[in-house]
């Protein structure tokens, strides 16, 4: 298997590990043990899947895009994670982690969020399981994702705007880690992507494995084969890890699309921050750089260590698209299929559109990781009166 368990040190190849203050090491070990035990316990796994089904709305459908396929000459299949409760794939991971936190006797969740999708999902799980919740969000993101901030408040969570550093996702992670260092005895850090110290990258991918499993089965049912290409956007890389894990052992080409202003894998320089050794955008001495992207959810200078590994062994490729291509893809899907995608997910489509001449006649499975409702305010500003045309 390509996407197998990490080794005993929590590494995928040379990437991963557990680079956190000593204070947190016992908590990471406790979490790893609890996760191993829970995932081997049918009652835990059954409850996880029951909630994802009865509450989350799984399985998410596979939608064939007839009009878009005809226009591009590429058979496009969307895995509809946008239709999950809370509007993105994020719910899979938070249900898993919140159940695990409860099983470990923790009464409080902390989380970081960029676009607000993971924050909303964590606040939702906290409401469902009656836990306290605090979400850290960069000041810049609080301003551009006002609606999600209000949603989190409605769900009973506290939202703290982070005004240090670049005031985006990476600083929200720093602040969540600082909170966890001080509250580790009663608090679980509900990390939102396949990043951070071991066991997070592995655990979060495992909770999202359901995306790849369902999609694999749905593709076989529809086409009697796997797609030629599986494509997903990559910030930290959780939705990509989820869908890749269903196809890593097939012949399908795996493509993770990064924003041009946050292309950690593309630049290919290893670094250590937020508990992991992975590819990291950094300056010539090792200071972490600030990512810049139109999508708050991909505004992250690092990437999950398993993606660094998949890139290093040549199993997956990580091209980048620019903001303009993303804006065009966002409009394209809206107009041809009646689906407004999250700006994050529009990155994956932007790559397909650009590469369409080379993909003629191929079947492409695209993970539509989230819906675009949260982005319409921002897009009104970007597009201005163009939307009236």
């Amino acid at each position: 298997m390509v996407m197998t368990d990490p080794n005993m040190e929590g590494r995928f190849g040379e990437f991963g590990g557990r680079f956190v203050p000593e204070t947190l090491i016992p908590a990471c070990e406790e979490l790893e043990t609890a996760f191993r035990e829970a995932w081997a316990d049918p009652s835990f796994v059954n409850e996880f899947h029951r909630i994802l089904t009865d509450y989350g709305g799984r399985p998410s459908p596979l939608t064939e895009c007839y009009r878009l396929s005809e226009q591009l000459g590429v058979r496009i299949l969307l895995k509809r994670e946008d239709l999950n409760h809370t509007g993105s794939h994020k719910i899979n991971n938070v249900i898993g982690q919140a159940l695990l936190a409860r099983r470990m006797g923790k009464s409080r969740l902390v989380a970081e969020t960029g676009a607000g999708q993971h924050g909303v999902a964590t606040a939702t799980a906290a409401a469902l399981l009656d836990m306290d919740c605090k979400v850290y969000m960069g000041q810049v993101d609080v301003e551009r994702q006002e609606l999600n901030v209000f949603r989190m408040h409605l769900l009973g969570s506290e939202v703290e705007a982070v005004s240090s550093g670049s005031q985006t996702l990476k600083d929200a992670v720093n602040e969540a880690l600082r909170d966890w260092v001080a509250t580790v005895e009663n608090t679980h850090y509900c990390l939102g992507s396949v990043m951070g110290p071991h066991p997070y990258p592995w655990m979060v991918r495992t909770f999202h494995h359901v995306i790849g499993d369902e999609a694999h089965e749905q593709c076989l049912k529809l086409m009697n084969r796997v797609p030629d290409v599986v494509v997903a956007c990559v910030g930290g890389g959780s939705n990509a890890a989820g869908i890749f894990s269903g196809f890593a052992d097939t012949d399908a080409r795996l493509v993770g699309v990064e924003p041009a202003g946050g292309a950690a894998v593309g630049r290919g320089v290893p670094g250590v921050v937020h508990g992991m050794n992975s590819y990291l955008m950094q300056d010539e001495v090792g200071q972490v750089q600030e990512a810049e992207s139109i999508s708050a959810g991909l505004d992250y200078p690092g990437v999950g260590p398993e993606h660094a590994y998949l890139s290093s062994i040549g199993r997956a490729e990580y091209p980048a698209v620019n903001d303009q291509e993303v804006v065009e893809a966002f409009q394209l899907l809206s107009k041809t299929e009646g689906i407004i995608p999250a700006l994050e997910s529009a990155h994956a489509l932007a790559w397909v559109v650009r590469e369409a001449p080379a993909l003629q006649g191929q079947a492409v499975l695209l993970n539509l990781s989230g819906r675009g409702d949260k982005d319409v305010d921002q897009m009104m500003d970007v597009l201005g009166t163009e939307s009236n045309q």
Binding site: G17, P21, I25, P26
Partner: protein, 263 residues
């Protein structure tokens, strides 16, 4: 792993002071922050037994608001590892120097190169708070070969079965993290401070210093009943942020020195 077990300058100086009956005082100052060099010299003159020089990092996860603010200001003023380290050999302190920074700044240039740079910059020891024992082997090896002591942090959450190994791995002194949390002053000494100091003392004869959360000379004295001394950082850096300058730092350090000497 066969790590060099020779005692370095940091440990021998601190041991010597302790064995003379003194309680130890280590003072942290953010390198690159306006006026830091004068503050370092004044702190040493006012009675610090060693100086910890922060090399500012973009993502200081173990630091609270005061040191974050100083680090960010230093970075915005153009501080780099090279600019901070280049200034150290010219500082007139007469005491050992440690750097406190984050692991990526050692990882990026490579362990050997970073360790050599430290050794050539009048740095005796290094503290990397996001490099826990389990990940620290390769760095400690490289540092040891370059003659740099790696000071390890023992946390209140560190289990008994790991503490002896952690204290054995630590060179220079053992940094006993006084509470669950990031750097910063607190209104009272946490009960965890004396507990972790006691637990470390029971497994090592290296100097054990309590850091994180020391907010007053009285708290320093209280922690030093069990510990061999304390590390103060945020209280000092706050003086700089508030415009107290080197004189303010000297005054503050002198007050801790006097309290520790009086017991």
């Amino acid at each position: 792993m066969n790590l060099n077990t020779d005692v370095g300058r940091m440990e021998s100086v601190l041991r010597g002071r302790r064995d003379d009956g003194a309680k130890l005082l280590v003072v942290y100052i953010t390198g690159g922050y306006e006026g830091w060099e004068a503050a370092v010299e004044t702190a040493a003159a006012a009675g610090a037994d060693a100086i910890e020089i922060g090399i500012p990092f973009s993502d200081p996860v173990m630091d609270g608001p005061v040191i974050q603010e100083a680090s960010q200001a230093a970075l915005e003023a153009g501080a780099t590892p090279a600019s901070v380290l280049a200034a150290v050999p010219n500082l007139d302190t007469g005491v050992p120097h440690a750097v406190m920074t984050y692991y990526n700044l050692a990882h990026h240039p490579g362990h050997e190169r970073f360790a050599a740079t430290l050794a050539n910059s009048a740095i005796d020891a290094a503290i990397l708070p996001d490099l826990p024992l389990v990940e620290s082997g390769p760095w400690r090896q490289a540092a040891s070969e370059a003659g740099v002591e790696t000071i390890m942090l023992a946390a209140p959450t560190t289990p008994d079965d790991r503490l002896p190994e952690l204290c054995a791995a630590s060179k220079g002194f053992v940094y006993a993290v006084g509470l669950l949390g990031v750097t910063g002053e607190r209104s009272a000494l946490a009960s965890t401070a004396t507990q972790i100091a006691q637990r470390c003392k029971s497994v090592t004869d290296k100097p054990v210093l309590v850091g994180v959360g020391i907010g007053s000379p009285e708290q320093a004295v209280e922690a030093s009943v069990v510990a061999d001394g304390v590390i103060i950082g945020s209280a000092v850096v706050r003086r700089l942020l508030d415009g107290g300058g080197a004189d303010g730092v000297g005054e503050l350090v002198a007050s801790y020195r006097a309290a520790l000497d009086a017991g």
